[in-house]
């Protein structure tokens, strides 16, 4: 019993340690992008959207799956999915948090990320994306 607990602790320590390294390097990367600008990404005027958008879309699709599962449970009342209900909502929240973080870092002026709240250009698809992302994230947080 004791040895199993110790094993579990080492495992936990290992995962937490590696995750912390990942998070720390991510934070450092974000710091570099915010202070030095998007020039450090190697993107150019001919390739304007890069891994940011790919990552962002992956997070959105992850959340979309979570959203579908949550809908099965909470809207359509499919009881046999109930064991994963909270996990689904939580994954959705994580996915959308990461989406918003990625987008804020991706735009050239992170200090102006909230401008779409005020200035609406109704013909823009991105405006709709912005609103969907923020509203769904707000719902998830609550």
């Amino acid at each position: 019993m004791k040895s199993a607990g110790a094993f579990r602790d080492t495992k936990l320590l290992f995962w937490m340690g590696s995750l912390s390294v990942l998070v720390a390097s991510g934070l450092y990367g974000g710091y570099i992008v915010v202070t030095q600008g998007l020039g450090v990404t190697g993107l150019s005027n001919s390739v304007v959207w890069g891994v940011w958008i790919a990552a962002d879309l992956s997070f959105i699709s992850l959340s979309a799956g979570a959203f579908a599962v949550s809908a099965l449970i909470y809207v359509f009342r499919l009881g046999r999915f109930r064991p994963v209900a909270r996990a689904a909502v939580f994954v959705g929240l994580i996915g959308y948090t990461l989406t918003m973080l990625t987008l804020v870092l991706d735009i050239g002026r992170p200090d102006r990320f909230w401008y779409p709240l005020l200035y609406w250009n109704n013909s823009s698809v991105l405006l709709e994306i912005f609103w969907c992302v923020s509203l769904y994230a707000a719902v998830l947080v609550v």
Partner: protein, 283 residues
């Protein structure tokens, strides 16, 4: 694993709610103050000539590029670089593309200068989520409000001509094109916003305010048209019936309006830049 925490779930949710509500409530008053005091002013909506006696409400500026005259010297590119002041060589509002073609067995180079097309139906304006890029009401020139642009670069993805450029880094350092090709007339843009050719609207506005005619008076004409040594660029109000170059005189609109080429006109962008291609001159 999520079910185990059922006992204290309610209290944690309560905690999250209280914290979130507290942050929201605390940030409301300073947020309101910030919004009311730091909103970007609507710049550039009113051209300088609006106050002058000259009316500038009905201009339809057009640029004619004669590829049969262009020698590919790139002076338009450098004059633009100096006038609009972008020190980085990764930004060039005007580009001269070179293509090798075979005409009657002989190999020739054909040059395609490409500024912003100043579309009447601009895809970039439709794409911008915050409306930072827009057509000026006075003359339809597509400009960017650098105080409003959030740098998402959606407009660059939308532009069929690749005419938009992003400030990946803060523009610093010496602009090598100054003073050989001109002096800067507009402030440098900050890092993280998109920029592009403006038809040198600062020259058009100040020139019209002084009663000058863009295309005829160098002071009121875009820098690329002024400097072109080959007579390949003509600028003017298409409604006036002619486009002009300060050095090379006038071209009647009627001589090219039906035969000139517009780049990617099949996209219905309705560019205001017209090209006389080498093929047309031989007919």
């Amino acid at each position: 694993m999520f079910m185990v925490e059922k006992a204290n779930w309610f209290s944690r949710r309560y905690f999250v709610k209280v914290v979130a509500g507290g942050i929201a409530a605390l940030s409301l008053p300073p947020g309101y103050l910030f919004l009311t005091q730091h909103l970007p002013a609507q710049v550039q909506t009113k051209p300088a000539c609006a106050e002058a006696a000259v009316s500038c409400g009905t201009h339809q500026w057009a640029l004619l590029i004669d590829q049969t005259k262009c020698v590919g010297c790139n002076e338009c590119t450098w004059a633009c670089k100096a006038t609009n002041d972008f020190p980085s060589d990764s930004i060039t509002w005007n580009v001269v593309y070179t293509e090798r073609v075979t005409v009657g067995g002989a190999k020739e180079e054909v040059y395609l200068p490409r500024p912003c097309m100043q579309c009447e139906n601009p895809p970039c304006v439709a794409a911008c989520p915050v409306g930072a890029t827009y057509k000026r009401a006075s003359d339809g020139i597509v400009v960017i409000d650098y105080e409003k642009c959030i740098g998402c670069r959606y407009c660059m993805a939308a532009c069929p001509y690749g005419a938009r450029y992003f400030n990946w880094t803060t523009p610093t350092g010496k602009n090598w094109a100054v003073p050989q090709f001109g002096e800067p007339e507009v402030p440098r843009r900050p890092r993280g916003v998109v920029e592009k050719c403006t038809f040198c609207y600062q020259r058009l506005d100040s020139g019209l305010a002084k009663g000058l005619t863009p295309g005829v008076d160098p002071e009121a004409t875009p820098a690329c048209v002024d400097i072109c040594p080959a007579g390949a660029r003509f600028f003017g109000d298409i409604a006036s019936g002619k486009v002009s170059s300060p050095k090379f005189g006038d071209r009647d609109v009627s001589t090219f309006i039906n035969s000139a080429t517009q780049l990617k006109s099949e996209l219905n962008t309705k560019p205001r830049v017209y090209y006389i291609t080498p093929g047309e001159s031989q007919q």
